[in-house]
């Protein structure tokens, strides 16, 4: 690893000031699982690290009206085991449970994973399907960006110079809705996905036909993707095998996977369609069950 200076300020304003002072030479560090690994491999050589670990107030999970706000310094294991997340968004707890191992989940933070913008990660997929928003603070103040607009390219996010992720807000789910996350990984359980899909389905008052569906996919492009054409096919329709087949064909056109040791591009394209079908089926079944309960 290269030599660097290290600051661990107690407030966000101090952290932003250090970032402003050191510009491109500085990197923000939270859990360090991504950054330290890249520094050890000499892929990045920052001359200044600004740790957010001592900044107070960034490590809370809190209910805000029907929404849930997860601070940037909350780690993956804390999301997985949070009673509030498990009650409101069980699909999100399940998604975080599928990341790496318990040991890495104890270290890796929610904000750090977003800022890292690795398209192979699981949480962004489910956060996109749930319509979550990234909270950002920077020299120009605070702003929010939908998670689906936050990823710009391979390891590139919408963060401007001097900005940091402060949290993510997950909005309340409509009644009569369901969600599912399906991760396909043929190698080991702590690996990145070959393809991961999150789907949400909310139903019309009849409790059968789709009002709105959202489908997000990971590991099959340079960013996490949303399959809008497939979503449009589902709106207004009742559940059925033909409909799922059409949606699956559409998803093959939405993805742009790379061939690697987790599968060829052609294989990933096929599996994206299959796994999306499974996620949609689970989400739709959960939505119907929820509709029956509310009646």
């Amino acid at each position: 690893m290269n030599a660097f200076e290290y600051a661990a300020p107690r407030t966000l304003d101090e952290a932003l000031a250090v970032l402003r002072e050191h510009g491109d030479e500085a990197r923000v560090i939270a859990g360090g699982t991504a950054l330290v690994t890249m520094m050890r491999q000499r892929l990045v050589r920052p001359s200044y690290l600004v740790s957010l670990r001592e900044v107070s107030g960034l490590a809370r999970i809190e209910a805000a009206n029907g929404d849930v706000r997860i601070g940037a310094l909350v780690n993956h294991r804390e999301v997985e085991t949070s009673p509030l997340v498990r009650e409101r968004f069980p699909v999100l707890a399940e998604t975080f449970r599928r990341v790496a191992s318990v040991r890495i989940r104890n270290m890796a933070t929610v904000g750090g994973a977003l800022a890292h913008a690795d398209p192979n990660q699981d949480p962004p997929v489910t956060l996109i399907a749930l319509g979550a928003r990234v909270e950002i603070r920077g020299p120009a103040g605070a702003r929010e960006v939908p998670v689906e607009d936050f990823f710009r390219d391979y390891y590139e996010s919408a963060l401007e110079p001097g900005e940091v992720v402060t949290g993510v807000v997950v909005p309340r789910r409509p009644a009569a809705s369901g969600a599912a996350f399906v991760k396909f990984l043929p190698r080991t359980a702590d690996d990145y996905a070959t393809v991961a899909v999150a789907a949400t389905v909310s139903l019309q008052p009849d409790g059968e036909r789709c009002r709105e569906a959202r489908i997000a996919l990971g590991s099959v492009g340079v960013t996490p993707l949303r399959a809008r054409a497939a979503e449009a096919l589902l709106a207004g329709q009742p559940f059925g095998a033909d409909l799922l087949r059409h949606a699956g064909e559409s998803i093959k056109n939405a993805v742009d996977p790379l061939s690697d040791h987790r599968g060829s591009a052609a294989y990933k394209r096929e599996m994206a369609s299959v796994i999306a079908g499974r996620a949609l089926t689970q989400a739709w079944e959960a939505a119907r069950a929820a509709a029956r309960e509310t009646r």
Partner: protein, 156 residues
Amino acid sequence: MTRKIRLTVNGTARTVEIPMYRTLLDCLRNDLGLTGSKEGCGVGVCGACTVLLDGKMISSCIALAVSADGHEVTTVEGLVGDERLHPVQQAFIDAGGFQCGICTPGQVVSAKALLDAIPNPSDVEIRDWMLGNLCRCTGYYKIIESIQTAAQRSRA
């Protein structure tokens, strides 16, 4: 660019001056002489460097020592109490939970963290918790048996 940090390592306060780029693993092994924790993959995957930071298991090979300033670290050396092996260590010996031994410190520390969190884990919980600790001798069944043995003895 060095800094003086304070750690509580296995219950003892330690002060050490280190360069910023020192990993916690290198600090423990080279600056503090605690060579029980091993470096395997160096990228957080294999589990040989597992230690507890404030009671939670982490990969010390990808943790910066400066980020542990002011915190408590437990290594495999800290499991022995009053000259007696920790029940998890004894169970690994009795059930044959190791072969070549290089992964064993990490396995034992992870298993201790598991039994601290879940005193009576199911087989699924054991596998789920331990999946990040690789044994290239592939002695996994005996490792699971060792953890079951330790859990049973603590119930008795």
